[in-house]
Every structure is written in C-alpha cells, then in structure tokens.
Amino acid sequence: MQRIAGRGAVIFAALLLVRATCADVLPDDRADLFYSKYSGGGMDITGESVLVRKKITENLAVEVNYFIDKVSGASIDVLSQASQIKDERKQKSGTVEYVHDKTTYTASFINSVERDYKSDTASFSLKQDMFGDLTTLSLAFSNTNDTVGENNGTAFVPVVTWLGHAESRSYDVDVSQILTKNFIAGLNFNLITDQGYLANPYRSVRYVDPSNAKGYSLASQVYPDTRTSTAIQVEGKYYLPYRAAITGSYRYFRDTWAIVGSTYELDYTHPINNIWILEGRFRYYKQNHANFYSDLFDYASEYRFEGRDQDLAAQDNYTIGAKATYAFLPNGWKIFKRATITFDVSRVAFHYLDFRDIKYYGVANGYQPGDEPLYQFNATVYQIYMSMFF
C-alpha cells in the first residue's frame, strides 16, 4: 500500500511538473554578450551584440538588442571596379511578448542604419498551442522600409547619394508538431514581396566592348522593381536511443526572378554530463541564376533588366560547423541562476557556376572576356557568446 501510495505520489509530482512546464510561460530572463568574425572573399566583418530580456510580469516580457557590424575590405565584384570600403551597420531592436492562456503575442521593431542604407522593420506574430499541446502554430507578418544610397566619396569622407526606397512585406506560417515521444517535426512557409529600388548600387554588369583594352566595359545594374519569393522548409528532430539529438531539414525556394534554390542541413547534438553541449553540422545549398543575370552581356543595354550580382549567379556552397556550449555557475551567482559560454566555428566553401573572376584574371594574363576561371572562395565564421540567465 505504501509502495502504491509512493508510486502515486511520484506520478502526481510528475504530472505537476509537466503541468508546470507545459503551461504557456515565458522563457527565463537572460542577458547575452556576442562577438563574431567573418573572413572570406576579401572581406572581414566583425559583429558585436548585447541582448537583454526581462519579464515585467509573469505574462509580459520585453527584449532589447543592439548589434554592430564593422566591415572592411570588399567582395570580388566590388573590388573589380572600386577601392576597398570601410563601413559599419548599427542595428537596434525592441520586442514585447505577451502570453495569454495558450497564445503568445509578439510585437517588435528593428532599426538598422549604415552610412548609405537605412532600414526599419515592424513585425507582429502570434503563436498558438493546440491539440493537447502537440501542435504549435505560428503566424507572423512584418513590414520593412529601406532607403538605399551610394557612397561616391571615400571610406573616410563619404559623399552619399540617396537612390531610392524599397518596401518589403513578409508572411510566415510555421507549424511544429510532436509526432512521438522522441520525434518532433516542423513545417515552415514564408512569402516575401518587395517593391522599389532592389539593386545593389555597388555592383555592375559587364558587356563585350572591343574598344576597351580589357575587352569589356562596366555599366550600372538594372533590376526589376518587384520581386515575390516563396520558401517552404520541412524539418525533423529525433531524440536518439542515448541522450543526443539529430536534426535534418530541407528548404525549397523559388521567386519571380526565376531563382530556384535548395538547402539541405544535418545537425548532431550531444550533451556531456549537463556541462557541455557539443554540436556538429553540415549544410549544402545550391541555386540557379536569376533570369536577368549574366556574367557577360553581348553589348551595352542588351536587355531591359541586367544584373551581375554574385548572389544572383548559379552557385553552390557547403558549410561544416562545430559548436561547444559550456554551462557554468550551476549554483548561481548574485542575481544569476546559471550561465553558459558558447564557441562556434563554421567553414563555408562557395563555388560559382557562371560568375567569373575578373579581378585577378584578364587579357593581361591571357584570358579573353568570358574565359576567366569561375570564382570560388572559402570563408570562416567565428562566434563566441556568453548567456547569463536570471
């Protein structure tokens, strides 16, 4: 009898615990310090960020984030026509999150400023748990207004000409579904519409020009004024027979510029003694080129729309990454309950299938326009960040 009562007490305690954890509650208060460095393709970008999240009441939380990117160098196609750049981007964001019953409402605002680019984004989302908390449905909408400029001065004495505006609207529908006690699946759909000045003013098209010693000349890109894209991703996360998890995902993308892309990702997560969480990941991405992209046009203004931006070219890339998270302060310290520090490194290999390296190869090296080697480069991304929970 005592044994049955004991077992009943355990089950009751487990039910109370589950009830406590599965009631819709806001995540823990936290503060994060973040540093990152990207090196590759002639560019060095460092990023620093601080994030603070605090519950005002049990149902209401606010989050603020400040991010600063510092860019030096320039990508290959910018280097082909201009000097190196130095720039920085400052991004501020604020988020308010409110939970009522099984629904979480989130509103946020992001402001991003560079010398030659300004962007404001307002977004709203709601998340609903349903079907016995097996399903989480999330709907989100965001509206972005960009002002695009071009710096015709130098890195130190900028002379910015404002070229135009762009407006973007994004709609998301995400479903997360518990399928078994070891397996959870996700389905994510996104639609984005853009309108306005969508080109990159720092990149140019090139066309055959026998009067030029190089055999080609450069001209401004002309993009369509509108773009609509859809993306759908399926993903699954499985808890292995021992304490580790494996995640797989596939994303299909297409847009009205005829870009079709596929992304495959595989991730393995392995904790050690509740102190370390180790993670390894592999990602492969491929796409075809936009319908107005060409590495070399036959003559000036051959088509109404012309682009030679790297990200519009046919390409593939793969990423190998590793992450280690170390948990410390298990008994807390002052106001902090616990803390973690994370090291993350990724190596990305980019291959372009119809974008040629005109910076380092040309007529002087015996390469005629259109015969230069295809461009490729490797990049390394480092991240280190500390999270303190209170």
Binding site: F131, K181, N182
Partner: protein, 81 residues
Amino acid sequence: MPSLRRSLQWAGAALIVGAGLMSSACTIQPWVKPYERDRLADPIMAWDRDAISSAYLDHIRESREGSRGASGSAGGGCGCN
C-alpha cells in the same frame, strides 16, 4: 457578382473548417501524454537554442545567396510555448 458569391462560399467553408478545428482542439486526446515529453523538453531538442547566433548566420547567408525565409520553426522541443 459570381466571384463575390464564390468568395463568400469560400469564406463560409473556411469558417466551418476553422470552427471544426477549434472545437476538435478542445476535445482531441494527445497521443503523446504530457508525462511522456521529458525527452522532448530536453534543451538539446529545442529548434533554436541561440537566437542571436541563428539570426547572424541567416544574415550572412541571405547576403550571399538568392534564397531567403522559412529558416526555422516556432515552438520549443516540448511544444510548451
């Protein structure tokens, strides 16, 4: 006018389906019981443990690739929030 009527028919059908879903949401029995979700509640089963890091990597990719969007699920590993 026929298009308006068709739109109203679609809206009515959507309302009926939505009402059905909402009412079944109240009565459906979860096939994974709350006390069987300890593994799903493990932090290693979270879709996204580090929001700043994920946003940063997405930003890097979207500035070098033509694709964008649909890069993450909502909700935690235990379906709690």
